[in-house]
């Protein structure tokens, strides 16, 4: 039978999501249609619609601990003489103090670097075709998961607690069909907006 009407096939790849573009800088945690961002196995015509990583505020615990660890030796050198402990005049301590002080600050630096990298490389990307979840933890573990948008059955978000509500961040969950791994983006900024974008993309599929 001859077709009376053939609907034109939409080219999804060329159509960027109809949301405004935002400038992405190196520390962005929420970026729409980011420029300059690429990922491994990205198709030639695959555009990135949403770039997410945890909210800046999630870094607060390690930043505070890092500051404390930085000043800790200075505090100790002030407190010990007040308590009448003459620790640093010992021959053995004097012999090792420089090496240990430098080593201590290298370890503090590494602690800060690892925590920063853990935040920096925990990324959730939404493209016109799929979502990609890059997880990075404990410096030796990195896990990259991806699924096509048509495998996603449900997308929702949760915001619980005073601080997440106040600073507008929360968790985003993307439930996939069958036994495929579910996706979760933790502590992302503007979770409602991100959920709406993914929901509209699923609707477009």
């Amino acid at each position: 039978m001859t077709d009376i009407f053939i609907a034109p096939i939409k080219n999804r790849h060329k159509n960027r999501h109809p949301i405004e573009e935002s400038h992405m800088h190196i520390l962005s945690s929420f970026s729409r249609n980011p420029h300059g961002l690429t990922f491994q196995a990205q198709k030639k015509d695959e555009s990135i619609i949403l770039f997410l990583r945890p909210h800046y505020l999630t870094n607060l615990p390690w930043v505070l601990l890092g500051i404390f660890l930085f000043f800790f030796p200075l505090i100790i050198t002030q407190i010990l003489p007040m308590l009448g402990i003459d620790f640093f005049s010992s021959n053995i301590v004097a012999h090792f103090i420089t090496t240990y002080a430098v080593f201590y600050y290298l370890i503090v630096f590494s602690y800060i670097l690892i925590n920063f990298l853990t935040w920096f490389y925990n990324i959730f990307i939404v493209t016109a075709d799929r979502i990609i979840d890059i997880r990075y933890s404990d410096i030796v573990i990195h896990n990259v998961s991806e699924t096509n948008l048509h495998h996603i059955e449900d997308v929702r978000y949760s915001q619980s607690g005073v601080i997440p509500t106040l600073f507008n961040y929360g968790n985003l969950y993307a439930q996939t069909a069958g036994t495929t791994e579910n996706f979760e983006a933790r502590s992302i900024p503007k979770p409602k907006e991100a959920t709406d974008v993914i929901a509209s993309l699923i609707g477009d599929e």
Binding site: G36, L37, I92, V102, F103, L117
Partner: protein, 72 residues
């Protein structure tokens, strides 16, 4: 017979050098991971910046090891 090897200060020196050596290995692991993550996700300027920082970390760790051998 020289028993200097059994002196506590010598043992502390050896332990310190071993710990710093492990730290050097760790800095190489950090560098490898940064390189791997740079291949997985290309964020403008990030990969080069982090590689530089991790190389500085490696250089500092090796310098500390050599410094410890000389000074301890």
């Amino acid at each position: 017979m020289n028993f200097s090897f059994f002196q506590p200060i010598f043992l502390i020196k050896i332990i310190t050098l071993i710990v710093i050596a492990f730290y050097i290995i760790f800095t190489f692991v950090v560098f490898t991971q940064i390189k791997a993550m740079g291949e997985i996700i290309g964020i403008p300027h990030a990969s080069a910046l982090f590689k530089t920082i991790s190389v500085i970390n490696i250089v500092l760790a090796i310098s500390l090891f050599l410094f410890a051998i000389v000074i301890l």
